[in-house]
C-alpha cells in the first residue's frame, strides 16, 4: 500500500512556509497590530458565580476622559450563538452565570484609561444559589442556570434528556443487547473516573483588532482556527450580511481547539462599529484562565462485561461532562462518547453522554476533543481487567482491538484500521515483556481511537501563466504547518515543485469556505479539497497540453513542471509555455475547484440518538507505551521515555508529523501529571502558567516514535490526521504504569504524588 516512493513532494522534507518570519521576529500576530487611532478594549467581568443583574450604571465610565464607548447587553442585539446549543450572547443579559463572564466592555484611547473606566461601571447583583459539580447539577432541585433552556435554538436532534434542567446536549448510543451482554459475561467491572479541566495553554492570548473600512465593511484581524465561522457568527450577532464582513486572521500563536472559538471578535467588532475607530481587544493572561475555554472536566462511570478469556462483551458508559456556564462546543461530549469504547470491538454497548451546566468557566474544544476523558476511563479499566484476569495488558488489547471492516459501537463500519499494528510495533520497540527495562522503571500501555476529518470545506487552485500555482483554502494554519502541507498536496498533484505553489489561507475575502480546523480536519479534509481542486486544474492542464501537442489527453504525462507526450517523451513543453503566452490561452485561465462535505452519511437512529455530527470520514489510532520511574516513598513520577506508534496514513511532512506527535504527548503528559484548573466556589484558583503548569523541556521524556504503513483511501494521498490521538493515551498509560509499579490505581487526574502515597497508606491520617 505504501506509495511514498512514487511521490516527488509528499513525504519529503519541505521547509515550513512561515518559518523565516517566525525565527526573525517578523511574523505578525494579532497581538502585534498597532493601528493609527486604535482604541483599546477591556471587559468588565462578573465577580460572582451566579446572580441576577439588577442594574448596570455606565454613566461615570462614559464620562471618563479618553473613553470612547461603553457597551452592555442593552446596547447589542439580543442574539445568541454556539456550535450546537445557541446559549451565549456577547454580554450577560439579566443574569451572570460564572465568575469571569463578560458584563460590559469599554473602548478607550489607551489600556490604562480602559481599565480605569471598568472600575467606574456600577453593577448591582442579586446573588443566586450556584452549583459547581455536574453530578449535583443534574439532581432535582439543583439551581438552574438557563431557565429558558428549552426555548434555545439547537443544531442537533434533541433527545428526551437534552435541553432540560442543567443538561444541554445529550447523546445516546445503543448497540447489541446490553442485558444479554452482561448475562454472557463472566466478570463485570464497574469503575468511576474523574478528570479536571485542562487549559489549552496556547502561548498567544486571544486577540482581535476590529475596524470598519472605507467601504463600510467590518474587518477583523484575529487569531482563530475558523475565520469563516467567525464571519458567520459576527453576521448573526451583529445583523450584518456576511459579504460585509472580512475576517483576515494573522499567524495563530497556537490554538489546540481553544481558538476554535469566537470570544474577542464580537466585542471588538461592536466597539469598532460604535466608535468607527479600530479597536483592539486582547485577553490578559488571567482572562485566558477565567474567561476562555478549557477541556471539559467530568466524571466517567464505566461498567464492562468480560469473558474469562478476556473477550469484551458488554459496556455501559455514562459520561458526565461539565461544560461550565455555557456550552460553546458540547461536540466534545459526542466525541467522548465515540471514543468511550476505545479501539475495541464490544458487541453490546450503551453510552449515555451528558453536557451539564455548572457555574464555572466554559468547557470547549481542546486537542483530543472529548476523548482524553473517556479514553482515560476506558484504558485505565482495560488494565484493571488485564490484572484481574491475569492477562498481559497488550494481549488483552490485541484480543479485542478493532480490525479492518469492524464496526464501531455507533454502527459506523471502519476502514483503514491499524491499531493492532500499532500495538505490535510499540510492544516491539519498548521491549515489553522482554525484561529490557531497567529495574527502577516500569512500562504502561494505552491505545486509542479518534474520529478524523469531515464537514464542509473547499479549495481553489489557480494556475498562473508562468507555470506556478496559487492555492486558496479557508482552513487555518495554527502553527501545525497546514499551509505547507496544502502546498505539498497541490504540488504533488500538479507535478510541480513545492516552492512553485503559494497557499493563501484564512482571509475570508480570498479563500473559500472551511468550517474550521479541528478534529484532524487539516491535512485530511482541507487537504482532500485542495487535492480535488488540483485534480480539476490538472485535468484542464492536460487538456491544454493535448491541444498543444495535437494529441489526446491520455497521451499526456505531467511532472517536474513539464508536460510530455507518453508516446514520445522527448516532446516536452514547460507549464509556463502551456499557460503563458497565455493570456490568450484557449478556454481562458485555468482554475480548479472543489467543494466537499466529508460527513454526509447519517448514523442509524436505532443506534445513535442525539448525534452531534454525521459519520466521520475515518479514524486514527495510536499506541503509546510509557517508561516511568515512581519513587515509592514520595510518590513522585518521572517519565524518562515514551514509545509512540501511530496509524496516521501516509506521512505528508515528516518534520511536521514528528512535531505534532511529540507536542501531543507533551499535552498528554501535562494532563496526566501536572495540569488542572482548580476551583474554589466557582473561582479559578490557579489562573496562570505558573500555577497551572504546562510541562517544560526538562519534564519531557525521550520519545521513540514510529508509524505503521497505511494508506487511507479517503484521505489525500492516503493521509489521515494525527493531532488529537497523540494526546489521549498518556494519562491512562501513566496511570497503568503507576499501578504496575506501586499497586496503587489512581482514578482521577492529575496523577499527583500525594494520591500515590496516599494509596500506599503512607499519609498519616490526621494529616490527610
Amino acid at each position: 500500500m505504501n506509495k511514498l516512493n512514487e511521490y516527488a513532494v509528499i513525504g519529503k522534507k519541505t521547509t515550513k512556509t512561515d518559518a523565516v518570519a517566525k525565527v526573525t521576529g517578523g511574523a505578525r500576530f494579532a497581538t502585534d497590530i498597532y493601528l493609527p487611532n486604535m482604541l483599546w478594549a477591556k471587559v468588565l467581568r462578573s465577580p460572582v458565580p451566579h446572580a441576577r443583574i439588577l442594574r448596570i450604571d455606565t454613566e461615570k465610565a462614559k464620562k471618563l476622559d479618553g473613553v470612547k464607548a461603553v457597551l452592555t447587553a442593552a446596547d447589542v442585539p439580543e442574539a445568541r450563538y454556539g456550535a450546537l446549543v445557541l446559549d451565549m450572547g456577547m454580554f450577560a443579559r439579566g443574569k451572570v452565570r460564572y465568575i469571569g463572564e463578560a458584563v460590559a466592555a469599554v473602548a478607550a484611547v489607551n489600556e490604562e484609561i480602559a481599565l480605569a473606566a471598568l472600575k467606574l461601571i456600577e453593577v448591582a447583583y442579586e446573588p443566586l444559589p450556584a452549583v459547581f459539580d455536574p453530578l449535583e447539577a443534574i439532581k432535582p432541585g439543583a439551581p438552574i442556570l438557563h431557565e429558558d433552556l428549552k426555548s434555545y435554538k439547537t443544531l442537533f436532534e434533541r433527545t428526551d434528556k437534552a435541553m432540560t434542567g442543567n443538561v444541554n446536549y445529550q447523546a445516546e448510543i445503543t448497540s447489541g443487547d446490553l442485558e444479554a451482554g452482561f448475562a454472557q459475561s463472566d466478570y463485570i467491572f464497574e469503575d468511576s473516573y474523574e478528570v479536571p479541566k485542562q487549559h489549552p495553554s496556547y502561548m498567544e492570548p486571544n486577540s482581535t483588532v476590529a475596524l470598519v473600512d472605507s467601504d463600510g465593511r467590518l474587518v477583523i484581524h484575529n487569531t482563530t482556527q475558523r475565520p469563516h465561522i467567525n464571519q458567520a457568527i459576527l453576521s448573526s450577532l451583529l445583523g450584518i450580511p456576511i459579504a460585509k464582513i472580512r475576517v483576515v486572521p494573522c499567524h495563530v500563536g497556537g490554538g489546540f481547539g481553544g481558538k476554535n472559538r469566537t470570544l474577542t471578535e464580537p466585542t471588538a467588532a461592536a466597539l469598532a462599529l460604535k466608535t468607527r475607530q479600530p479597536v483592539r481587544l486582547t485577553f490578559s493572561h488571567e482572562e485566558e484562565f477565567t474567561s476562555a475555554t478549557t477541556r471539559h472536566s467530568g466524571v466517567m462511570v464505566m461498567k464492562t462485561g468480560v469473558k474469562k478469556d478476556g473477550t469484551l462483551v458488554a459496556s455501559d458508559v455514562k459520561l458526565y461532562y461539565d461544560c461550565g456556564a455555557y456550552a460553546p462546543t458540547p461536540n466534545a461530549v459526542w466525541l467522548g462518547a465515540i471514543s468511550s469504547s476505545g479501539a475495541y470491538r464490544i458487541p453490546h454497548c450503551r453510552v449515555e453522554a451528558y453536557s451539564i451546566y455548572t457555574n464555572k468557566m466554559m468547557g470547549g474544544a481542546f486537542r483530543g476533543y472529548g476523548a482524553p476523558q473517556s479514553n482515560f476511563a476506558r484504558e485505565s479499566q482495560m488494565d484493571r481487567i488485564a490484572r484481574e484476569l491475569k492477562i498481559d495488558p497488550i494481549e488483552l488489547r490485541l484480543k479485542n482491538c478493532l480490525v479492518e471492516g469492524d464496526s464501531l459501537h455507533t454502527g459506523q463500519k471502519l476502514h483503514s484500521v491499524k491499531v493492532k499494528e500499532t500495538l505490535l510495533k510499540a510492544r516491539e520497540l519498548s521491549g515489553w515483556g522482554k525484561g529490557r527495562v531497567p529495574a527502577n522503571r516500569t512500562l504502561g500501555v494505552a491505545c486509542g481511537i479518534f474520529a478524523c476529518g469531515g464537514f464542509a470545506t473547499s479549495g481553489i487552485v489557480r494556475l498562473n501563466m508562468d507555470g506556478t500555482a496559487t492555492v486558496a483554502t479557508g482552513a487555518m494554519d495554527m502553527g501545525q504547518g497546514l499551509r505547507t502541507v496544502m502546498g505539498q498536496i497541490a504540488a504533488e498533484e500538479l507535478g510541480m515543485a513545492a516552492e512553485d505553489v503559494t497557499v493563501i489561507i484564512g482571509d475570508t475575502d480570498s479563500t473559500p469556505f472551511d468550517v474550521g480546523i479541528f478534529g484532524d480536519r487539516g491535512t485530511h479534509t482541507a487537504g482532500m479539497a485542495v487535492q480535488m481542486a488540483a485534480q480539476d486544474a490538472r485535468k484542464q492542464l492536460v487538456e491544454q497540453a493535448a491541444f498543444a501537442f495535437k494529441t489526446t489527453p491520455n497521451n499526456i504525462v505531467l511532472g517536474g513542471g513539464k508536460a510530455r507526450l507518453a508516446s514520445d517523451p522527448d516532446k516536452v513543453l514547460d507549464y509556463k509555455d502551456l499557460l503563458g503566452g497565455g493570456q490568450y490561452k484557449k478556454g481562458g485561465p485555468i482554475i480548479g475547484k472543489a467543494s466537499i462535505n466529508l460527513t454526509e452519511t447519517a448514523f442509524d437512529p436505532a443506534i445513535v440518538r442525539g448525534a452531534a455530527s454525521r459519520m466521520f470520514s475515518t479514524y486514527t489510532f495510536a499506541t503509546h507505551i510509557v517508561e516511568i520511574e515512581v519513587d515509592p516513598k514520595t510518590g513522585v513520577v518521572r517519565v524518562p521515555k515514551t514509545y509512540a506508534v501511530h496509524d496516521c496514513g501516509t506521512v505528508v511532512n515528516p518534520d511536521g508529523l514528528r512535531g505534532q506527535i511529540i507536542g501531543g504527548l507533551a499535552t498528554g503528559l501535562g494532563y496526566a501529571l501536572y495540569e488542572g484548573v482548580a476551583f474554589e466556589n466557582g473561582q479559578v484558583q490557579n489562573p496562570s502558567f505558573l500555577e497551572c503548569r504546562p510541562p517544560t523541556a526538562v519534564d519531557m521524556p525521550e520519545i521513540v516514535f514510529d508509524t505503521v504503513e497505511e494508506f487511507d483511501e479517503k484521505g489525500p494521498f492516503g493521509a489521515k490526521g494525527v493531532g488529537n490521538v497523540s494526546v489521549i493515551n498518556m494519562a491512562p498509560a501513566i496511570a497503568n504504569a503507576v499501578e504496575t509499579a506501586t499497586g496503587v490505581r489512581v482514578t482521577s487526574l492529575p496523577i499527583t504524588p500525594g494520591k500515590i502515597v496516599q494509596g500506599l497508606g503512607q499519609l498519616a491520617k490526621e494529616e490527610a
Binding site: 467581568r45 513522585v636 490557579n686 500555577e691
Partner: protein, 333 residues
C-alpha cells in the same frame, strides 16, 4: 499590556545615598533587585510604591569574596547564576550551590539576586492574584482582610502565606549572618532570626533598611550539606517542601554539628528544634535518622495555599530529611 503602577525610579550609586532616599520615602519605596519577585507583584497590584529604588548601580553589592578569616561574603546584588557557577562557592559550599541551582528557571537565575531571594515575599493562592481576582470574595488578611483564608477553617487572625525561597534554608543551615543597613547605621543578625514567621510581614526588615548581603562563617567549611527540593515540575516552580541539612562529622563518624532547615512548609524557613540535641555526639543510625525525620515532619506546617496536598508535603519533609541524612552519612563514610 497591563501597565505597572506609576512610580518614580531611582538608581543611587552609593549605599548612603540609597539609605537616605529610603529614610525619606519609608514604606512608599520598594527596593528593586533583579525584579523577578517585585515586578510581577506590582503588575498584580500587590504593591504600588511611589518610588522604586534599584540597587544595581551600588558598588559593593556585587561582591562575592572568600577569605579564610572572614568566610564567604556575598553581596545582595550577586545574581543567582553567578552563585551557582562560582567555582569557590561550589567547592566550599556545594549545598549552597545546589540550592541556588534549584531556584526557578535558568533565565530567572540570570536576573534574580541573592538579596531578592532572601527578601522573597511569602506566597499564597489568595495573595498572589490580581485585584480583580481578589475582588471576587473577601480579602485575605495579608491585603487588609479579617482572616487568613488559607488557614485551617479560614478563620485565623494570623497570615499563613508560605515562605518559598530555596537559598535561605541552605544559608541558615550554614549559620549565615545577614547585614541590614539603614541611614542610622547597620546591624547584623543571624539569618534565622531575620524571619518572623508572620506571613503578612515575613522578615525583620524595618522601613528604611536595606539588606546588603550575607556572610557564611569561615568555620562552616568542611560541613557536609544537602538540599532537597520538592516541586511539581522539574523547573520554574517554587518549592512546596524543601530540606537543607548541614552536618559535621568528627572522628569515627560521630556527628559534631547538625542543623536542619525546612522551606516551603511554613511562613518562614523552619530551623528544626531538637536536632542538635538528638544527634550531636552520636553516630547516625536508622533510629536516630527516623527520630530526626519525625521532628522535621512535626515542625512542618504546610497550609492549603500552594500546590500539593498538605499531608503529602509533610510526608515529603519526612522522606527528604531521611534521604538527606542517609546521603550525608554515606558521603562521610
Amino acid at each position: 499590556m497591563i501597565p505597572l503602577p506609576k512610580f518614580r525610579y531611582v538608581e543611587p550609586t552609593t549605599l548612603a545615598e540609597a539609605a537616605a532616599i529610603l529614610a525619606a520615602e519609608g514604606e512608599d519605596c520598594q527596593i528593586l533587585g533583579g525584579g523577578t519577585d517585585l515586578v510581577p507583584s506590582m503588575r498584580q497590584g500587590i504593591f504600588a510604591p511611589k518610588t522604586v529604588l534599584s540597587l544595581q548601580a551600588i558598588d559593593g553589592l556585587g561582591r562575592l569574596e572568600w577569605s579564610e578569616s572572614d568566610g564567604l561574603s556575598i553581596g545582595a546584588g550577586v545574581t543567582l547564576r553567578r552563585l551557582e557557577t562560582d567555582a569557590t562557592l561550589r567547592k566550599l559550599f556545594p549545598m549552597l550551590a545546589q540550592a541556588v541551582s534549584e531556584v526557578a528557571s535558568p533565565s530567572i537565575r540570570h536576573m534574580a539576586t541573592l538579596g531578592g531571594n532572601l527578601c522573597l515575599d511569602t506566597r499564597c493562592y489568595y495573595y498572589n492574584q490580581s485585584e480583580d481576582w481578589k475582588a471576587c470574595s473577601d480579602l485575605c488578611l495579608k491585603v487588609g482582610g479579617e482572616f487568613c483564608k488559607a488557614s485551617p477553617g479560614g478563620k485565623a487572625k494570623k497570615c499563613f502565606a508560605v515562605f518559598s525561597a530555596d537559598v535561605v534554608p541552605a544559608l541558615i543551615a550554614l549559620k549565615a549572618q545577614v547585614t541590614l543597613v539603614a541611614k542610622e547605621g547597620e546591624r547584623t543578625l543571624d539569618l534565622a532570626a531575620f524571619y518572623s514567621g508572620d506571613g503578612a510581614r515575613p522578615n525583620a526588615l524595618k522601613p528604611g533598611e536595606i539588606l546588603t548581603g550575607v556572610v557564611v562563617p569561615a568555620d562552616r567549611v568542611g560541613i557536609k550539606g544537602s538540599y532537597l527540593k520538592y516541586r511539581i515540575r522539574q523547573t520554574i516552580d517554587y518549592p512546596i517542601a524543601g530540606v537543607a541539612l548541614a552536618l559535621r562529622f568528627g572522628a569515627s563518624g560521630v556527628v559534631s554539628e547538625a542543623r536542619l532547615v525546612l522551606g516551603g512548609v511554613a511562613s518562614k524557613p523552619v530551623l528544626v528544634k531538637g536536632i542538635a540535641e538528638l544527634l550531636e555526639g552520636q553516630t547516625l543510625d536508622r533510629a536516630r535518622i527516623e527520630r530526626a525525620a519525625q521532628l522535621a515532619r512535626k515542625a512542618a506546617i504546610p497550609q492549603a495555599n500552594t500546590a500539593g496536598q498538605r499531608a503529602h508535603r509533610k510526608q515529603m519533609i519526612h522522606e527528604f530529611t531521611t534521604r538527606a541524612f542517609e546521603d550525608l552519612a554515606r558521603e562521610a563514610r
